[in-house]
Symmetry: C4
Subunit: 209 residues, 4 copies
């Protein structure tokens, strides 16, 4: 039990370090983005409106799987329900990262009519859990952005069901949600997907037409 508590504290520390690293890269500008880690049915999550560049564990809010606040400071973000949807639909997920980047914004905007971004042929795809070859075709679903979070939660749930192998979901002109069985795995997925978005983005936007 002591061990488990320590690990929980370490995961929360690593979540905050990951958030600060994302800020330093410009991936969560203007207090955007949100981050969580789950421990059984308790979720530690960033509250709304916080500067991620200085995030520390005591800033986090503790909620349950229905989004009800159990403890901690601040108000839950409107996107809290998206975290609980992901934790329900991806039973193994223990950490969720949500970032706004230049390239995920540009690509999600361009590919939103297709409903998903297809990425294939890159070695970095192997940064995604379970992927063992660059020949893998990763389909990242893109859902329309809306301020109606009930609709957004349903849409998110639907694409998680429709794309059972997806490692991330894009909200059009909004950002990426990705997850993992630990903060380290979620960060690996984040770095792999954002690398692939930038490569694809530069390839597509650098060409005419």
């Amino acid at each position: 039990m002591v061990e488990e508590t320590q690990s929980e504290g370490q995961e929360i520390e690593e979540l905050c370090a990951t958030a600060r690293g994302c800020y330093a890269r410009g991936w969560v500008p203007a207090t955007s983005g949100n981050f969580s880690v789950r421990w059984g049915s308790r979720i530690s999550i960033t509250p709304t409106g916080l500067d991620k560049g200085v995030l520390v564990p005591r800033d986090l809010l503790e909620i349950d799987m229905n989004g009800s606040v159990l403890g901690g400071r601040g108000r839950p973000s409107a996107e809290t329900s998206l975290h609980t949807v992901i934790y329900r639909e991806r039973a193994h997920a223990r950490a969720i990262l949500h970032v706004h980047t230049i390239w995920n914004t540009l690509l999600s905007s361009r590919c939103s009519p297709c409903g998903c971004i297809s990425i294939e042929g890159y070695e970095l795809l192997k940064g995604l859990s379970g992927v063992t070859t660059h020949e893998h075709l990763e389909k990242v679903p893109v859902i329309e952005n809306t301020q109606n979070y009930t609709v957004l939660s349903i849409d998110l749930q639907e694409v998680l069901l429709a794309y059972p192998d997806a490692h991330g979901v894009l909200l059009s002109r909004h950002g990426l949600y990705t997850w993992g069985e630990s903060v380290a795995e979620a960060r690996r997925h984040l770095e792999a997907l954002e690398f692939l978005f930038e490569v694809e983005g530069r390839r597509l936007f650098g060409q005419p037409g």
Copy 2:
């Protein structure tokens, strides 16, 4: 009163930290840019010609709402009058940030014939105070650059009146002025607007025509 004085000192510290952060991102090269925080009718502002990468509170100049020097070191920048215009026209503004970035330079140059840049449909618009949906249309006015600061002050005042909801003003091929009710809010506006300028810039410049 003691509390208020402490807060003033903290805001000045945060303004300097924000300036150093902007330098690290390449947003105030070659001693460019200027930054201020207001406390009632007293304004603490960066003097002319200072390297923002090493800015500390004792470098700041104290002026009144007419731009007259009350104390501190250095000479006022020629753009000091733009700060006082903004503080007068935006009664709630307590902090002003002015930066020169690659993308605000490119975009302001391209959009200056239209008189403003229209940005719509991005989640990051919600980083701007009072904006609650990505469907918001933000119009960032662009004014012509001139070395006649009397003309520039009048032009700035005019666009602030003409665009009462604007969160920032661009000077063509020069830079962005943005503000907020605190340094933190001004920095949030800065990060949101610069993110949106880069997204729009990459979208527009990556396409022929």
Copy 3:
């Protein structure tokens, strides 16, 4: 002997510092990349799946020239055989760096039909050992990526023989392998090649057609 041991320790320290620097630049995202230094027939190499942003000497694995583990922690990466091929074919190589970057991915993809990337006319070519003029034509061979490491090792050996003067080899849509007589020289080759890839990449992708 004491001196040699010290130098070995210093080279391993420098290899780790180089790996952490590569992570900070975004050149080894998602635990990708691998790094080694050779001391006679003993090779210290990064094991599989490690975050390079926090690499320290005790994380390294020690192997022999056949890839058999002599000591240390972790499992060898599948690409270990590529390191031993390079050490065999480039007798003077004492350090090998392998990174995944945006520009080496884009360029290797575009140039893989030609079998090599030809770079000529840049002063930075002189960052490559033995090159004394910008008029030098550097041919960086590009081999097809595959998950069959036996095939990949043979292909790598072939291009090392076919391009005896090459300072690096690209794996298409995968990454760069470069080496040197010391970690410092390998890092110099890495920085020179990646600079040239970005210049060439921006030149080619910024133009229509």
Copy 4:
């Protein structure tokens, strides 16, 4: 005299800090670039082949105005004569910075047929000493690169005479030389010019044709 000696030491410290800052930005990859500060007829200059990311004062070489070594460690760089030419032709110059960047490489390559790059209309031009308006037209001469340093010195001397108001000189596909009356002024020129090169580069390379 004591004061002068202190100032000399401080300028040398600032030169090294500037060099380390340039490395961190990727402006002097692969041990490229060189930096000097002049004190009367004595010049402290970086020797050849040094990693600028870790430059400290004791690494510098002391030479006279003919390039003869007076003291210090290492071998003079082949480009030492370019520094002495600049110090002779620009009597007020006390510091010289030479960097290799992506954008100065791309722009110098594209504009080398014209013999110079003309930049006009940007506020950042005021980062150049003596420039008081964005309407200023800065012409940055571009000379052909060659490994014949006698020819290069003569070509450099000629453009310094032909462009008496220039704040920097580009060597085609090689890099920028800029200078100032102090390290701080030289760094201001460097940051202003590189900003302008990137703006112009993105404008030109992002457009077809």
